[in-house]
Symmetry: C2
Subunit: 378 residues, 2 copies
C-alpha cells in the first residue's frame, strides 16, 4: 500500500449559478490543478448524478480532458446518487494506491437550479428503486426522512428543536464560508417557524437545490494531506427492506472499513464532514459513524458537542443544509473542507486538527463512502 | 500484475423487451453468476448511459447488490456514453489486477425502446459537448457519421455499396445469433434501397434502439478466458476539434496501449468485436485498430477479409448494427461474444480462435476502450 495524498483542491461558490455545468467543472478543476502545482494528470474521475437528466450533458470526463488540455487520458463518470462524488474519489484513490496512476483529478459537479422544481424532484427520485411498489407510491426523499424523524423522536425523546439546532449550527458555520449557498444570519425561531416540508422537517431542515463543482488532485507520495482509509458499502435501496429505520447500515459498514484500515476509531477524529441532506440525517450519521451512541445524537447536538469546543466539530463548511447540495459535487466538496482543515487554512478552522473524516450518502442509504485523512502538521 | 480471467458470462436477448431495466440487468447477472459457479462477489461495476434520462432509474449497482443477495458490497455505475460498458469492464479489471478485489461482477444495461424516438435522440445527444455552438446546431450522431462517410468516399474511392456490405455481413452473422435483435435474412439490394437516414447512411447502416443487458464475472487467476490488456483513451468531443475526420484517435491510442501491454499486434487477433454504431464506423475501426491500412478498409470489406475465411472475422455476434445497441450493455456484450469465441462455444464460431479483441466507442470519438483476451485452448 502506497502513500496517497491530496495535493490540490478547488471549488466554485455553491448556489444559483449562471454558468454551465461544463464551466463550473472546468473552474473547480483549474483551481485544483493550480493549487497542486500543475502536475501531469493520468486520469479523471467525475462524480455526477443528474448531468443527463437536468443539464442534457454526459461525457463530462472527455469534455474536461479536452478543455483542460490534459491529452487523451482515460476518464469516466461514476454515479451512486448523492454519493457520486465520494465514489469518484474512492475510485481515484484505489487507482493511485494500486500504482495504476500516479496523479488523478477528481471532480464533482451538478447543475440543478435552472430546472423547474418538479423536474428536479422527479430526477432525484431516480435514486430510488422505481421498479417497485414504492416507486409508484409517491415516496420522496423528504418524505422518507420525515418518517425517519418522526420515528426517531418517538423512540428516543428528541424534539423538533433538535433538528432545528442542527440546521442552526450549519447555518452559523456557513455564514463564514464565502463558498456557501446560504450565509444569512438565521435564528432558532425562524428555523422552528419555517414552513413544513414533510413534518417534522421544515424548510431549513432540508438541503437545497444547488449548482456547483469541487475538485481535488490525488497523488502518490506523502506531500500533502494523506488519505488513510477508504470505505464503501451498499444498503437496501427500498424503504420496506430496511430492518431498522433508525440505523443507516451503509454508513456503519463503510465507517467500520475505514476505521479498521486507518487503525483509528471515532474518538480519534478531530473534524468531520458528513451527509446532512436533512437535519435528521446528520443526527443519524453522527451515531452511525460511532461519534455518539445510538439514540443520543440529539443530546450531543443539544450540548453543543458537534461544534467548536465540543468533542468533534461536524460540518464546519455549513454542510449540505447551508453550504448547499449540488449532488455530484457534494462528496468532493466535503473532502475539500477536510483537506483545508488539516492544512490549517479552513473556514471555521478547528485548532490543531490532524485527523479528519468525510462521509457521503447516496439514496435513502443505498450507498455510503467514508474517507479518513491525516494532515502533515503533527 | 496478476492473472485476471473472465469466468462467467450472461446476456439477455437484445431487442424490444417488456421487462424493466432492473429485470434485464438481474437476468444477465444471474446467468453470469451461475456460469461462473456462483462465486463470492466483492464489488459490482455497472455500465449504463441513459438509465436516468429514459428509464428514471439510477443507483443500479445498489439495487443489484440487494436483488442478487450479494451483501453490502461497494458498487458504482460508470458512464462514458456508448463506451460505458467497456469502461465498467476496465475499472473492474484494474481492481482485480491490482489485488483490491478478487471477484467482480460487471454488467451493462440499457432500456430504450419504450421511449419516443425524439426523446431517445435527444438523450443520446447528451453524448456531445452541448455547451458549444455544435450543441445548438442540431448535429446528431447519424449526421456526424454521415458527414464522415461522405468524406471517406471522396478521399478513398469507396462507394455506398461498401457500407451496405458491412451491414450485410453483420446481418448474416446475426441470423445465427438467438440473442440478436435482427435475424431476418436481408439482401444487399434491400440494404442499398432502404430509406436514407443521413445520406449516404441508410436505415441498415445505422444501429437500432435496443433494450438488453450483458454481464461478466472477472476473477483473479487463470481459470477462464484471460484478460491480456486494457486500453482506454479520450478524443475530442466536438466535431470542430477533430483534425482529421477519417481517423478516430481514441481508437488508435486505446489500441496502441492494449497491443503494447499484450505484446501483440493487430495481426495476432483471431476474432474481433468492434463498435459499428454505423457501417462507416466499422470501416474506420478496422483501420484505426491496425487490422488494415488507413483508406483500405472498404477494400477489405469488399474482399471478404473481415468474414470467416478472411484475415480476421469482425462482429461475429452481428455487431451493433444487427445484434442491437442497448448503449450501456454494448461494451459488455462484445466481451461476452469474444469470451464465447475463445471458449469455442460462440455463435459463428471461428475455428481455433485463441486471441480476441473487443473495442467500444463513446460519443463521436470521445472515449474508446480496447481489451484483448486469450483463450485457454492453446
Amino acid at each position: 500500500m502506497k502513500n496517497v495524498s491530496v495535493t490540490g483542491v478547488g471549488m466554485t461558490k455553491f448556489g444559483k449559478r449562471r454558468e454551465s455545468l461544463k464551466s463550473l467543472a472546468v473552474s473547480a478543476c483549474r483551481d485544483a490543478l493550480i493549487d497542486a502545482g500543475k502536475p501531469k494528470v493520468d486520469a479523471i474521475y467525475v462524480g455526477n448524478f443528474l448531468g443527463g437528466q437536468l443539464a442534457g450533458q454526459e461525457i463530462i470526463g472527455s469534455i474536461l480532458s479536452k478543455e483542460l488540455g490534459l491529452g487523451p487520458i482515460p476518464t469516466t463518470k461514476t454515479e451512486g446518487a448523492c454519493a457520486s462524488g465520494g465514489i469518484a474519489f474512492r475510485q481515484a484513490y484505489l487507482m493511485v494506491d494500486a500504482g495504476i496512476y500516479d496523479t488523478v483529478l477528481v471532480v464533482g459537479v451538478e447543475k440543478m437550479t435552472h430546472a423547474p422544481t418538479n423536474l428536479v424532484t422527479q430526477a432525484i427520485n431516480s435514486a430510488m428503486d422505481n421498479d417497485s411498489n414504492e416507486g409508484i407510491s409517491g415516496l420522496t426523499f423528504p418524505g422518507f426522512f420525515g418518517v425517519v424523524a418522526n420515528r426517531y423522536m418517538y423512540e428516543f425523546g428528541a424534539e423538533k428543536e433538535h433538528l432545528a439546532r442542527v440546521a442552526l449550527k450549519n447555518r452559523e458555520y456557513a455564514m463564514n464560508n464565502p463558498k456557501a449557498q446560504f450565509r444569512k444570519e438565521t435564528s432558532l425561531e425562524e428555523i422552528m417557524g419555517a414552513r413544513p416540508i414533510t413534518a417534522p422537517l421544515g424548510l431549513f431542515d432540508c438541503s437545497p437545490i444547488t449548482d456547483g463543482a469541487a475538485a481535488v488532485i490525488l497523488t502518490a507520495g506523502d506531500k500533502g494531506v494523506k488519505v488513510l482509509a477508504s470505505g464503501q458499502a451498499s444498503g437496501p435501496p427500498l424503504m420496506q427492506d430496511i430492518p431498522n429505520l433508525l440505523e443507516i447500515v451503509a454508513i456503519r459498514e463503510s465507517a467500520r472499513q475505514a476505521y479498521e484500515q486507518a487503525s483509528l476509531g471515532p474518538n480519534d477524529m478531530d473534524v468531520v464532514e458528513l451527509h446532512d441532506c436533512f437535519a435528521m440525517t446528520e443526527i443519524l450519521a453522527i451515531e452511525d459513524l460511532g461519534l455518539f451512541e445510538k439514540g443520543t445524537g440529539w443530546q450531543a447536538i443539544e450540548s453543543g458537542l458537534t461544534k467548536h469546543g465540543g468533542s468533534v466539530p461536524v460540518n464546519t463548511s455549513g454542510g449540505l443544509l447551508s453550504r448547499g447540495h449540488p449532488i455530484g459535487a457534494t462528496g468532493v466538496s466535503q473532502i475539500v473542507q477536510i483537506v483545508c482543515q488539516l492544512r490549517g487554512s479552513a473556514v471555521n478552522q478547528v485548532d490543531g486538527a490532524r485527523i479528519g473524516l468525510a462521509q457521503n450518502l447516496g439514496g435513502t442509504g443505498a450507498y455510503s463512502t467514508v474517507h479518513i485523512f491525516e494532515g502533515s502538521r503533527a
